[in-house]
Symmetry: C2
């Protein structure tokens, strides 16, 4: 998989319930996505003889970056150079490209800082401080009469804490729910909203092997890119950055990954997993299938159509392959048997001891919340999740409407995504200069409106309201042709004009968003009160009981916040065959010649001409056992000295099931070797200044 | 669209209800798919001053062929040469190809009769005689107590009529239900089961423009191929064949199409159309989407994977594009408004006059049958329709089991597809030497089993029965690896051994088919009795009333039996722009250079080298107004003298809605011009002997 968070973001836009935040008790040696404030020191020392001190942890934390396109990264020079994956910046390359200049296809190479390009609507956050605010948040919800009200109260309190923190420290502040409400931590970030593109190779080598080789190994991908943090229009001077290792890594050596895993479901109840298996994942897959075909059809119209559909298509292909693999794992009865036996043990303990704080009713409540979800989820997903409206223009329309409406309320009473601390990001996305292509918007909207009719039926009042007597294609045409929201300046002006400007506007997309919004909000409220809150309360009690039974040494399910994972460089056995732990640069040319004539295996010109210049034996990609998942894309792989030895870009096909259960027998993280990056930068791309910046500080 | 019947066959395998056989009252000048026994003589004379006599009709009828791969064709020489589309023989080319010799890619050219290749499991039927047996069939069902029993009785009678006819005449005999039971006609066919491949061009020019240009115009496709009928190991000497026109056709001229339209739904009730719009088509589309992705994923593994998946993938792409277009048309409120107003008029007449033989209750019955269908259809489609088992091996297993079981009963009591007259075709398919690829079987079966779990849930008893404690992937592997049914000789031997051989056999695929079969049969019986029969009875009465109201001059909905359609060569207006009525050969090279680098627009070597040899102004493809639909693929386009002027291969995007309503404003049939065929055969392929055979008899 390309471990970017798009899959999860796309999904959670529709199904926030999948962001089930819970915790896991590690069974395997290398299991665990550890909080930087609760590193498994004993475990690391026992398994690897490694005991990082507080300074080490803080240094790595402050050198790790979260990128708003849905991935991770690391600062690798004192001048704010950030390394991440090519596929993490793909969206940026797409937005910067035009029919004449295709950075995705051709790559981008700033040969001086003056050539570095500003990335549209991109921000990078670096976790700076962690504070436990569990007591304060929990107290806020303790007097509420029902789960829904308790959740609202806690949300308001989180918003207040964030606001106070921002005012006090100036740092971007987020209260993160961990262990499904077992703990709440305040994360303070250094936020950079001026991010520039430094270097990205051609997609042909970044994604060599294409969709077919995605999630596979052996691999030969230079899935790397470099960005730079800017402050006040100048490269940011940073205090913490990761140095480059001078010897790379070897088989069996300890490696660690510092990054932002997006979402896991490891300790979901068995009923909840069944729901994912039978309802959530299959219906999400069907969405991906239809959207993939719709985009393929659009792309067939010609090269420019193909170019503008490419960003959406890549994201969908990646999610589709990921979910297909995860579902394949969930459909194995063995997965369920092991989950069921774990669950029975915990239930027996709970049944025997009322003092554990949970009861068997909590499992029942979760089961009932699944039934409720079946009833309410489609309305919620299609209206509030906007699955009916697969359109950037529609998203813009709704964001403007809501932003104006929500800003009139106190921050703590708003929809959480419009609270004060979130507004800079909202505005940045809204004012993005990235192009919006009307033809693509029409094709996407036609498809999603057709899907809407499919699910609700053509005679449903919502459908009649939305289609207004037209067919999906006619309606999409009317909406996209009639709106002015494709123009960034128009959006900015509208936003500045506030409610008065909105009231005067005659824009079909705004009108549509307005007519849908009260139903969308109602569907959200219903879903949150009757499904999510009920479930979270029950999970909260089960989590308390699990703490009591198993003691400490557990880690929370992933929440797209910073974690450390540890493991070793190691191949695996597949059908009796040994899969080696790394590939070499020379293998790329070999594979290209074996698969000659296939687009996905065609090397870019820069590579096909460089065969003799390159060290054929330099390690290219390698596999290791750390516990990672979507969102970890771009995470640095480091050694004990916190030096960069590689760059996470994928997991193998066996790792897909890590969403729900960790296994180190065959699941592996896939990385670009640090040495290969330097080799390519200097010998293929002639990026000597960049190489010097990266390895110049090497000890 | 490629007008082959695959879409409909695939669909009707699952949803026979879509083969709604009804009739239509022509409103537009060129509407109508006319029975050869009831040609619209008055209409043809009035509109075109053309009055074909009985000899003309019989000659055209006996020169028209139905091909078992799902298309039409025509005999074009006294030595049994048959012209059809390349895409009608695609399945044959696929079955004859190997990793070393790819006839689909490279084309096939027999330069002497000795080189002509036997086509696996292919039969061609030529309609020879038509006899009205309405009274006898209707009488058989008249004493039954309920719709289900009446249907069974009529079926038994049809089977008896067929058997008698076959014994008396030696001709293959089929009783066809027309006007949804308003009439029954006995069709006697000359059947040829030795069919050989003579010539097929490279797919790159047959399907120039690929999936993107499918259903579009202007087009530049040489979608033609030639087969030959053999009798007693020698080319068949035929009495009727179509001569080749020496001047082609011109704008505005009358053209006629003699072919086998597969299925239309033109006079479905509005409720029935809603069902198609809201349930049947969308769920079929979802099936196609998931299968298209599954095959694409399989094909990505390498060139040989791509080659063996290609046949399935082509069929699915074509169906997907067709259904997507049809659904797009159905989603237009205008389509429904016109249907509704027609229906209201008929209902008013029925309400006012009880003597018309129908009542408003009949519409209610049809509506209720849709509700029943919603309840029963998935069980029916997944078990009896075998949607859960996307596997040739499974189909073989079930056919063998059922064949042995059914043969023990009298023909008239069997499942209709195993009645005596149908057995030669059943055996031919079962004993086909065409290769079955285990890797492809596993991928397809894994996907369909996953789909089965999605629809029924992993805990459903059917699913547990089928998966036997495995995941879909594990089960597919076990079934495909364990069966011997991939070997044609093994199947033949098993069939010869009958029940005793089956009882002794230890074959997981046979075991699976056996364990599913009683549930599958029950689901079919339930669906036929409670949905199809109820609906057919009601439609029968509505059809009687319509006859009474509108008089004669109506044609039945398509049933993949021979029809004649008439119209003119004519372009259309599209968004204010005039689309010309034909393209020229030179346009192919022009388009190839405009779209250079795209696979779908890359001419085969034979063409790219022949530019200077070819008459650039020879008409290549043309559009006309005759009323055609899927199944018409390969139909000859003829003039008044019954001479070949073209070859149907597609309809434009506007023609997709012809499934449910005829319109001649923009809907057009797309044909290869007869002159272009000769030009290419002689100047590009050097097939001089074939050219001489075709035009040698020209007057």
């Amino acid at each position: 998989m390309k471990l970017v968070l798009k899959a999860i973001r796309a999904m959670t836009r529709g199904i926030p319930v999948l962001l089930a935040c819970f915790f896991s008790i590690p069974c395997a040696a290398d299991e665990g996505m550890w909080l930087f404030s609760q590193l498994p020191l004993e475990r690391l020392e026992k398994t690897y003889g490694f005991k990082p001190d507080a300074q080490w942890a803080r240094h790595v934390m402050r050198s790790s970056t979260r990128i708003s396109t849905g991935g991770s990264g690391s600062v690798v020079s004192p001048d704010g150079l950030v390394m991440t994956n090519h596929h993490v910046v793909e969206d940026i390359l797409q937005k910067l490209s035009t029919a004449e200049k295709n950075y995705l296809e051709d790559g981008f190479f700033a040969r001086s800082r003056a050539q570095e390009l500003k990335c549209p609507d991109t921000e990078i956050n670096i976790l700076w401080e962690i504070e436990d605010v569990t007591a304060r948040v929990k107290k806020a919800g303790s007097d509420a009469s029902d789960p829904g009200a308790a959740e609202q109260a806690r949300r308001a309190e989180r918003s207040s804490i964030e606001k106070e923190s921002k005012e006090k420290t100036g740092l971007h502040s987020e209260v993160v729910m961990l262990y499904r409400g077992g703990q709440y931590h305040l994360y303070r970030y250094k936020r950079y909203d001026d991010v520039r593109l430094v270097m990205a190779p051609e997609v042909a080598i970044a994604f060599f092997g294409g969709d077919g080789d995605n999630f596979e190994f052996p691999r030969y991908c230079l899935d790397v890119s470099f960005l730079r943090l800017y402050e006040d229009g100048k490269p940011a001077k940073v205090t913490d950055w990761l140095r480059w290792s001078s010897r790379g890594t070897r088989s069996g050596e300890l490696v660690m990954v510092s990054g932002h895993p997006g979402s896991t479901q490891r300790l979901n109840t068995v009923d909840h997993l069944r729901f994912l298996r039978d309802v959530a994942y299959p219906s999400y897959l069907e969405l991906l299938y239809r959207r993939e075909i719709a985009l393929q059809q659009f792309a067939l119209k010609g090269p420019e159509f193909k170019r503008i559909a490419r960003g959406d298509l890549f994201g969908i292909e990646n999610s589709r392959k990921a979910i297909r693999g995860t579902l394949g794992g969930l459909l194995s009865p063995a997965t369920f048997d092991s989950k069921l036996s774990q669950e029975r043990k915990l239930q027996a303990a709970v049944a025997a001891d009322a003092g554990l704080g949970a009861s068997l009713d909590d499992w029942e409540r979760i089961r009932h919340s699944m039934d409720a979800s079946r009833k309410f989820r489609e309305e919620f997903i299609f209206l509030e999740g906007a699955r009916a409206f697969w359109s950037t223009l529609y998203r813009n329309a709704r964001t403007i409407l809501r932003l104006v409406e929500e800003q009139a309320k106190p921050s703590s009473e708003r929809l959480p995504e419009y609270r004060d601390t979130a507004l800079p990001s909202v505005r940045m996305r809204l004012e993005s200069p990235a192009p919006i292509y009307p033809a693509l918007e029409k094709a996407k909207l036609t498809d999603s409106l057709t899907h809407f009719v499919k699910v609700f039926g053509a005679e449903h009042p919502y459908v009649k309201l939305v289609l207004a007597g037209r067919s999906p294609a006619e309606r999409a045409h009317e909406l996209v042709s009639g709106t002015t929201l494709g123009d960034a300046a128009a959006r900015k002006k509208l936003l500045a004009g506030g409610q008065a400007a909105l009231d005067q506007l005659d824009d079909p997309m705004i009108d549509l968003a307005r007519s849908v919004d009260s139903y969308a909000r109602a569907s959200r409220r219903k879903y949150e009160d009757l499904v999510t809150s009920v479930r979270n309360e029950a999970y909260g009690r089960i989590s308390t009981a699990t703490f009591a039974v198993t003691g400490t040494g557990v880690y929370p399910d992933a929440t797209f916040t910073l974690r450390l994972a540890a493991g070793v460089v190691k191949g695996w056995k597949e059908g009796g065959r040994d899969i080696p732990d790394h590939t070499k640069l020379g293998g790329a040319w070999k594979l290209a010649s074996e698969r000659a004539g296939e687009d996905a295996y065609t090397l870019p010109k820069s590579w096909s001409e460089a065969r003799d210049k390159i060290g054929a034996d330099v390690p290219f990609n390698f596999v290791s056992t750390p516990d990672i998942i979507g969102g970890n894309s771009g995470s640095p792989v480091i050694n004990r000295k916190a030096e960069v030895v590689g760059l996470i870009f994928d997991g193998n096909i066996h790792s897909l099931v890590l969403d729900v259960v960790y296994t180190e027998e065959q699941a592996r993280a896939v990385s670009v070797n640090a040495e290969a990056i330097i080799e390519a930068l200097s010998k293929i791309y002639g990026m000597d200044v960049l190489v010097k910046e990266i390895i110049g500080t090497r000890k």
